[in-house]
Symmetry: C2
Subunit: 413 residues, 2 copies
């Protein structure tokens, strides 16, 4: 009953899971639904940006030669032969002492090689014709946004694996991607175990608690870019549990179970893994919380056996399941981004195992600080709500002091 389990280091456990690397498929979605998805192909420019030489200001397009020697006292007078807004084109080339009144974004007329801003000019009507007085000389190419100066046609403008933010959306629209190739989201099954669990809408009963893990994990899955599919709870009966899990494995890309992985007498998962002939990658990790986290593989699926303890469940997901989702989506960032922070609290107690404590990082004076997100008992859901990172404390014989440099894993980015 009390199986021997050999704890392996966290890094080794993560590496074992990542070796199960699997990339998902591509699907095309309308650009209006592409935000927050992951690009599945490199995006190239279908035209130069700007697509033509254009004016960055409201003003007059002119030939710079015509402005030589211009001054406030001796302005150069040019005839205004056209008036164009963005989207319009002036068809006749400019000749000597001609100018075209031009608005921001409009194409520079042929023959013109500079733009003078409106505020540096004065218009004048003489015998029904319009003239503009130029007060200072204009350099060649002054105030022109040149074709292709921002982006060259054919250039890769966004790499596959990029998360589509509003700026990327702007580029996709600019280059005519009415539909966009994105990574298909993995569908991940969630099954809760534990005869103590009530569903969220059930009233409390003696000795029982409500199932919070399945809902929490579903939200973590959505945040990671996956589609959660909750299959309810396992029955206490082994045979029907095996049947249910076998059926679910056919329908999902990965499967997460919560609870039932300890060496407790009512923990069914170890027997289920055996019945499924699943290959156990590990069933004990040298970490707190979540040391009983178990990952197993079948012929064509991966089962994440997360702890039934909410904090351990949360941490197990972020450390082990999330990197595989990142791989599936083809993301460039695999796993939570880790950065260094200054510990803003004493943690005197040592622990032989690596700890991943719920933390709250913040910025002050250009520095990243981190403190504990509330009390950190492993059965405490409360602090999970306030955490924006996991603080990694290496196992050892000494505690940690305020001012120590620690690694934090940023959540929710």
């Amino acid at each position: 009953m009390l199986n021997e389990r050999n704890p392996i280091p966290v890094k080794e456990a993560i590496a074992k899971v990542q070796a199960c690397y699997q990339t998902g498929q591509t699907e095309w979605v309308p650009v209006t639904e592409a935000a927050t998805r992951i690009l599945a192909m490199d995006i190239t420019a279908d035209h130069h940006v700007p697509p033509f030489d254009r004016s960055p200001y409201d003003g007059y397009a002119l030939r710079s030669d015509d402005t030589t020697g211009a001054s406030a006292e001796q302005p150069k007078k040019l005839e205004v032969v056209g008036h164009i807004g963005a989207g319009s084109v002036h068809s006749e080339p400019l000749t000597d002492h001609q100018a075209v009144r031009i608005m921001t974004g409009a194409a520079i007329p042929k023959g013109a090689d500079a733009v003078v801003m409106l505020e540096d000019t004065a218009a004048e009507e003489i015998e029904g014709r319009t003239y503009v007085n130029i007060m200072k000389p204009s350099a060649q190419q002054q105030n022109i946004s040149f074709k292709g100066e921002d982006v060259q046609k054919g250039e890769v403008i966004i790499k596959k694996g990029t998360e589509i933010n509003p700026g990327v959306i702007a580029l996709l629209a600019t280059f005519g991607y009415a539909s966009v190739p994105v990574a298909k989201k993995p569908v991940i099954g969630v099954i809760a175990t534990g005869s103590e669990l009530l569903e969220v809408s059930e009233p409390l009963e003696p000795g029982r608690i409500r199932n919070s893990n399945a809902y929490m994990i579903s939200a973590q899955l959505e945040r990671a870019g996956a589609i959660p599919r909750y299959y309810g709870q396992l029955a206490d009966d082994l045979a029907s549990s095996i049947e249910k899990i076998s059926a679910v494995l056919e329908e999902v890309d990965f499967l997460i179970t919560t609870g039932g992985v300890s060496v407790g007498d009512f923990d069914l998962l170890p027997e289920i893994y055996q019945a499924l002939e699943a290959d156990v990658l590990f069933n004990k990790v040298a970490m707190r919380p979540g040391s009983v986290t178990t990952v197993t593989t079948t012929a064509n699926n991966i089962l994440f056996g997360l702890s039934g303890n909410p904090s351990a469940c949360y941490v197990g997901f972020e450390l082990f399941t999330r990197p595989l989702i990142d791989h599936f989506l083809g993301k460039r960032q695999i796993g939570l981004p880790a950065v260094e922070a200054v510990l803003d609290v004493d943690i005197p107690k040592a622990n032989p195992f690596s700890r991943f404590m719920r933390g709250y990082y913040y910025f002050q004076d250009q520095t990243v600080f981190v403190q504990l997100a509330g009390k950190d008992k492993s059965n405490m859901v409360h602090s999970l709500a306030n955490a924006n990172c996991l603080i990694e404390l290496p196992g050892g014989t000494a505690g940690f002091n305020k001012g120590d440099r620690v690694l934090i894993h940023r959540l929710g980015e």
Copy 2:
């Protein structure tokens, strides 16, 4: 034609918009759809956590008095009178020299005042009865998670205005919130202006560009927690434009237009505002990009006249529209969170106006650094895709140096 406009400082402009503060309504959604929404009410605990005294480990619940003097050499032998998993209750109170085998999460039986972990015991069968040998004395209250030690019934566990992350979901589920009160998302209309604009699926034409702003703003709206509703482009004709905007104003919480707010000859918005008898809060801000950003109010709506220039449009949204969405949602954080960072690039050119440049911040050695997200010409869409913050550079006569302390406004959080 060339109206006089008086630029006002950015802070003043933001304050003018925020004075239009408006809070939206509350709606109830299933807990499975509540993630990323904003809580509209304080959430209180409907029961203690733990709801009963329970065991944090697999082991034996016992009476600590019975273990006095126990040692490896002289273990104390207790009779095992029950065996309970989480969710089960042992009904009979323990008496002298009795123990109950108990699994993690199960309720402590009456009479017991301590739990000994499985690994510190040895079981033994004698004449069909089960005993457990205890190797060391147990302190009163040892290894018991006490009722209410995490959360007290009635305690406010999450404040209104909090964004619902997976940890919050766990709390909502724990306390039986099958449906959750959240802030209703504002519906925000988007109208593009500019006769140069083609829609994303149209092929390019001379002098014209594709509309990217409407798609970009829609993605910014979604990221901010609003519902975008794109109403297409305004016709060139003033009368029909006024009619369209009037109609849209009846259907949305706020309205955003892109383009048409300059003093250019084809910029219709100033005339439309006049026709609508809209109150102009400002039509010029001492900032780059986006100095022409205009915000006006009608009797029961707010119109954000953002620039047609993509970067200016982007910045105008984040600085002026977003805080109002935050207010509408009742969020505690209003506007982009601003933190200090170390500038990792020289920006020698001074500008009399405040600048909001597209930046990319990153962490190194516990410090927040920021660099420019690509070239930063105001007509450049490209760098928006890479930006994760806006760098605020105060207006003045001097440039900025690598190592300077600057304020960054973090995007997308």
